[in-house]
């Protein structure tokens, strides 16, 4: 199917249209219900309804023919569908997560949900854009929305500092990326990703322009590395994660990060690479891209794991942990094959449930104890065995220990790496996972064995929304390994990015 024009594309655009409309309705209702008791509830219900409808429309899109939309701005393909669905799911979970949150209790949630919807739509665009302009615009939309969400607690100094650091670092990274995109435009004469690929493949002069291409890609990677918090563009991550309201931190760790990886795959594989036929991809240029990606992956996971060992603040620890997980996901990118993309997708799906689960527990504990510090996690076993067991499952999954889903995620990535002939790379991944065990266990140990810092020994009573979410996050972690067949099917379907337009 060739690319569709504006009017014809609209019927394949229903999820995004729904979300934008919901955003507008949320803002309107928020104003209309000002001062009334049911303001919060009304806004929550509308946002949820919109998200669910968008999810249904996304499922309906699986029947749609693949091809370009809106004059080659977006693309409709198998890769994008899973990601769309994932983003909607992330938004629903984060929305529910923020409802009972103590941190967000005093602030207006209508605008928060509007921003969440806006960022979700933008993430969907990020994952489906095949035009440099659209990629950049969507990326900036996600970023700007995130900057505001991080600084939402405007009376808290921590929140403000975090959002200032975030926006300054982010603007520099995306500005650098923009400079790189402009150079790429200059090298190829077009903004269309597929056009760029043909230009890069057919022109012998561009083969001579080796250093230019390398430098350009490094500049572009500044923006992508920023969004995925990969080394050396990860510096904002610990501070921002610590200072932001925890629901926002949870969202940042799974939403924009996954969108960043989607851009990486589209840009690298779709815009600069060609499938060779046996499942592996060949990237243009005489540069050893694989070595570059491996280097970044190793640096990212190692830095994340080692730095996490030193942390006592749970949010900071989980920030470094998420940096490490980005390193594992990059392993999937580094093998330059369809299998690698499949591994990345599988990891990202499972990671959503592991990471959000851990943050959910952090939020419950904070709401009750008012602290994010590991030493205040002592004695929780006595106060809420359910919570401790749940956290244990999430942590074990993050560690990659069977029989939990996290093991499956790591297995996918390591298997792809080994099958590509890079066994030593997999060994580094395994070693890193071993290191990670120490800091995850530190948290679990505190909860089970150590004594609490307060004299209060009353039981935790879980807010029903929290309890419901806990079940929702636990189920995939527990049965994930058993249902690996389904995951395999879905990711194998989704690993295909549209090759030509």
């Amino acid at each position: 199917m060739p690319s569709l024009g504006t009017l014809a594309s609209l019927k394949y655009f229903l999820p995004e249209l729904t979300l934008v409309l919901t955003l507008l309705v949320v803002v309107a209702i928020d104003i209309a219900l000002r001062g009334r008791e049911d303001r919060r509830l009304g806004v929550i219900l509308i946002a949820l309804a919109g998200l669910v409808m968008a999810g249904v429309f996304t499922l309906m899109l699986t029947e749609a023919p693949q091809g370009g939309l809106f004059s080659r701005m977006l693309v409709l393909d198998q890769f994008g569908l899973l990601l769309r669905f994932l983003f909607i799911l992330t938004a629903i979970l984060v929305l529910l997560l923020s409802v009972p949150s103590r941190e967000l209790a005093g602030v207006n949630q209508g605008e928060f949900f509007a921003l969440l919807l806006g960022v979700t739509v933008s993430m969907m665009w990020m994952a489906n854009s095949v035009n440099l302009l659209m990629i950049y615009l969507a990326l900036e939309m996600v970023s700007v929305g995130s900057y505001i969400m991080v600084g939402y607690l405007k009376t808290e100094r921590l929140s403000n500092e975090a959002s200032l650091k975030y926006i300054l670092f982010g603007a520099v990274s995306t500005g650098t990326m923009l400079y790189g995109l402009s150079l790429l435009f200059g090298l190829t004469g077009t903004l269309d990703l597929y056009g760029i690929r043909s230009a890069l493949m057919n022109e012998t002069t561009l083969a001579q322009a080796g250093p230019a291409l390398l430098f350009t890609v490094i500049l572009v990677f500044a923006g992508i590395g920023f969004k995925t918090a990969a080394v050396p563009f990860h510096f904002w991550c610990p501070d921002v994660y610590t200072g932001a309201p925890t629901p926002v931190t949870a969202f940042l760790s799974v939403g924009p990060k996954v969108a960043g990886f989607a851009v990486l795959v589209r840009f690298f594989f779709g815009g600069m690479g060609q499938p060779v036929g046996d499942g592996s991809w060949q990237i243009v240029g005489s540069v050893n891209w694989q070595a570059l990606l491996i280097g970044v992956s190793v640096a990212t996971m190692t830095l994340g794991n080692v730095a996490a060992l030193l942390q006592t603040n749970l949010k900071r620890l989980l920030a470094y942990s998420s940096i490490a997980h980005a390193g594992y996901i990059l392993m999937g990118a580094a093998v330059l094959s369809d299998e690698g993309i499949q591994a990345m997708l599988a990891y990202m799906v499972i990671y959503l449930f592991m990471n959000l689960g851990a943050f959910l527990v952090v939020m419950v504990v904070y709401d009750r104890l008012g602290s994010f510090d590991v030493k205040d996690y002592g004695g929780i076993w006595k106060r809420s065995p359910t919570l401790t067991i749940a956290m244990g499952i999430f942590l074990l999954s993050l560690m990659g220990i069977p029989p939990f889903a996290g093991f499956l995620a790591k297995f996918y990535v390591f298997a792809a790496v080994i099958r590509a002939g890079l066994a030593w790379f997999a060994v580094i991944g395994v070693l890193n996972s071993a290191v990670a065990v120490f800091y995850y266990m530190k948290v679990l140990k505190a909860m089970v064995i150590e004594e609490g810092t307060t004299d209060d020994t009353s039981r935790f009573v879980l807010h029903p929304v929290y309890a419901g979410l806990l079940v929702v996050m636990l189920v995939p972690n527990v049965v994930g390994l058993v249902l690996w067949g389904y995951l395999d099917q879905i990711t194998e379907y989704s690993m295909k990015i549209l090759e030509t337009l």
Partner: protein, 101 residues
């Protein structure tokens, strides 16, 4: 006419200066100004390439969107700076930043 490379060199200088400002300046508003320099340098690139390399106006269109994005980012950034200033004014300014690196 003025060759393409001349424009590119000017924008490269702007980019480097912007980078220098971001790396060395301590005042948040000053860093923001340096970021605007970076955006402008990329824009010059886009328009110059649009004129010399591509057959259409796509570079110029991209530049318009960059201006729009830069405006919204500047607005949000200044809002955050103001908000932080409001809080810190009542706190000792010499105190080290609460968030470590």
């Amino acid at each position: 006419m003025i060759p393409l490379e001349h424009y590119l060199v000017v924008s490269a200088m702007l980019f480097s200066l912007g980078l220098l400002g971001v790396l060395t300046r301590k005042n948040a508003v000053n860093v923001l100004m340096s970021i605007e320099l970076i955006f402008n340098s990329a824009n010059i690139n886009l328009v110059a390439f649009s004129r010399f390399v591509s057959a259409d106006f796509s570079g110029q269109i991209f530049a318009v969107f960059v201006i729009v994005i830069a405006a919204s980012e500047a607005a949000v950034a200044l809002a955050i700076v103001l908000s932080l200033y409001r809080i810190m004014r009542s706190v000792n300014l010499d105190e080290a930043s609460v968030l470590r690196g």
